[in-house]
Symmetry: C2
Subunit: 446 residues, 2 copies
């Protein structure tokens, strides 16, 4: 099984590269090594020192401009004025916790729940996706009476003890929980099956059976419906339906981790799960929700949530505070007003088509797939055997950096470029990105 | 053992009270019950609908002004202009994660570590105190090779699965982890021992021995050094020393949870542990760190942290981002410039003295104790037997609310008023608070 491709080996800065850096970068990397825990990793052999952001662009300390095709936190665009203004206004008025009454959390909950299937009718707020998934697993266990959680083989769901135990992407240093079971990625490019949905449902059933054989009662299936860490696996739409039926038939619940595909990202739907026509029991949100302000959410069917909240107290001090809610409300408003979901669909489709033209030019491009502005660009050593070429992918990431395009890799083999720009990415940015990719592959002799 | 006093039963609003509310409050409470998870609890039989804050004051929708003597998140004062400005400036420039270089996290780490003992030389950032404590326990386990964690009997350390399992304050609905052991509160008012330090160290050793008998290797002792949830237990300074020696002699580490006593709160020291003259192996921070912006930290000895971070990846998307760091840096600067630690010491001592005068007037005031602006005011049914009077404490909290003073209760019996105002609390606020307490006790016939 793959280890650490997504989380650890993304061209992280290593001390041996420090010698070649200019004085400013050297000073900052030295300080990091002196002051921060060793867990802190930098992207790139030559790290980027960013000082400014706007829309889809970032600038470094030397004034160089970069096209950001990686960061979905600044989902509606870096430094979006609507979020800045909403936060500034609310910070001047009040920022306190949810044990006093305040309109903001209620108005936002109404707006957010309105984007969900009617069955999902309750909202709770935390600060990070990890916190949302940690709570979601606890709710799943309280409701099902089981403990077993199924995730995909390269899944990443968070940094807490509980969520790390369901995050194989963290690699062999982080043991999975004894109650965790893995299913292989539903990867249409690599899985040879007449019907991906049937195949994937069978994989789920197999792991439920394995749990049962070990005396572990099944609690639920936790998945990011675009399988981001598994290499971005969007197709075919609807393939999740049979799997979710299996989950429900076995008494488990489906937790849709929308930290990656949510908030209009996939273009085809506001939520990733909706692309598949399934209704989750719990939805978790995070990264893009506040455009950088730490806010996350857990949305659930009331009967599922009640099993937990009737018994166990939960209070998140910062969660749902008026400033977080102001940021989240501004993000939601901008997505609607600027029609960013539709924008993601249209521009994403054009970008996907342009990227696919590189397949004609370079044999190393094995597959290009995506939904909206979330695209996986898979590099292989040879097309016939689909041999993953991780080294090439990492080299391309470095080349792209030199071409002032920021991105990173994903997938169990670390050979898939993850192209996930702020939704502010425009049609005119396509040439920059595709041109840079073209030059990078050419420069690497492909 | 006590259950749910601190977290659950703090006069939370219940549906049966809704009938008596005015239309606006009724509308908001109805909406909450419809939209939010049942875990959301309101303070007070008649909830407070807050719309504005400034310094130590809060205002409700009707324009009524309240003295806040409870909230330590807005530690340097509600809506402090320095934090508003720092966040606004940084939000206009850049807000992204720590895999690119940025000065803010480094400058802040230097400033923060400078307030710590030299042995604590590494910083990491998360978004909530729960995340910091969750990671701290994982680090303690990685370093010690053990799993057993000791906490105090009414401790509260967070909302994640791992931290909930070391939070007996959550009550019987939330099971403690099998590896958790509890020590009784080091309560000078109730414990009859010639030397509290020796007594407490003995309690720690007893639990380590019990772990050993169960085949559980000791990992560490996790404590808030002012024992906030146990009823605010600051005295005598230094009593923790023997306990920490026992912890170290048994191969465990000491995690100082500074979410409550940190950042100048106790007046006598910048950190709660420093009042006791001990050096923790890990320090966790949270609530007051960003004055409401979700930011928390884990500070540790590098050799302790390395045991974890060499093996296990950890990346917190929002943790340490430039906006969080700008807020945290502003808070630190204000504490120094406005000399809030000294302010807390001086004003806290005056407040404590005034509160103690109520002991002469009311027999029900069993004990008043504190450090800086963190005071416990304990109510008893009779002084001789020190019988806790929780019902009275809850009634006083409601009376105080009617006198426009906001606070709540703590302690295993829920009979201790927790007086922990923003550090912006001034000498001239003492009369309001003490007068309101006086009137409340008189009105309740004491």
């Amino acid at each position: 099984m793959a280890t650490r491709s997504t989380i650890m080996d993304t061209n992280s800065f290593r001390a041996e590269h420090a010698a070649g850096l200019d004085a400013n970068l050297r000073k900052l990397t030295d300080k990091r090594q002196k002051l921060l825990g060793e867990s802190y990793r930098l992207f790139y052999r030559k790290p980027v020192h960013l000082v400014r952001g706007e829309g889809q662009y970032l600038w470094d300390a030397a004034g160089e401009k970069y096209l950001d095709v990686y960061n979905n936190v600044a989902s509606i665009g870096h430094c979006h004025p609507a979020v800045i203004e909403a936060v500034h206004q609310q910070m001047q008025r009040l920022n306190t916790h949810t044990r006093y009454l305040h309109e903001a959390i209620l108005d936002y909950s109404e707006a957010l729940l309105a984007t969900m299937p009617a069955a999902i009718d309750r909202a709770m707020y935390m600060c990070t996706g990890s916190e949302a998934n940690d709570l979601a697993i606890r709710v799943a266990r309280a409701y099902s009476g089981g403990s077993g959680i199924i995730v995909s083989q390269e899944a990443y769901h968070g940094t807490s003890e509980l969520t790390s135990g369901v995050s194989p992407a963290l690699g062999s240093g982080q043991p999975l929980a004894a109650t965790t079971r893995l299913v292989p990625p539903p990867d249409r490019y690599r899985v040879n099956a007449p019907d991906l949905g049937t195949w994937f449902a069978t994989q789920i059933q197999r792991q439920i059976d394995d749990m049962q054989a070990h005396g572990i009662k099944f609690a639920g299936f936790l998945a990011d419906s675009i399988f981001s860490s598994d290499g971005v696996l969007p197709d075919p739409r609807g393939f999740l339906q049979q799997a979710i039926e299996v989950v429900h038939n076995n008494g488990g619940i489906f937790i849709a981790d929308e930290v990656q595909p949510g908030f209009g990202r996939t273009g085809e739907a506001f939520w990733g799960f909706a692309r598949h026509g399934v209704v989750p029991d719990i939805v978790t949100t995070g990264k893009p929700m506040g455009n950088g302000i730490p806010v996350s959410g857990l949305l659930a069917k009331s009967e599922v949530l009640a099993a937990f909240s009737d018994a166990i107290p939960y209070f998140n001090t910062f969660g749902g505070n008026p400033v977080s809610m102001a940021a989240a409300q501004a993000v939601l408003k901008v997505i609607h007003e600027e029609q960013l979901q539709e924008h993601s669909r249209v521009v994403g489709a054009k970008l996907l088509a342009e990227l696919k033209t590189l397949m004609d030019k370079y044999d190393c491009v094995g597959d290009v797939r995506g939904a909206g502005l979330f695209i996986g660009f898979e590099l292989v050593a040879d097309r016939e055997n689909k041999t993953p070429d991780k080294a090439l992918a990492l080299d391309v990431v470095e080349q792209l950096r030199d071409n002032h395009v920021l991105t990173s890799v994903a997938g169990p083999y670390g050979n898939v470029l993850k192209l996930r720009p702020p939704l502010a990415f425009q049609e005119q940015d396509i040439d920059w990105l595709v041109g840079a990719l073209d030059r990078s592959l050419a420069a690497l002799g492909r």
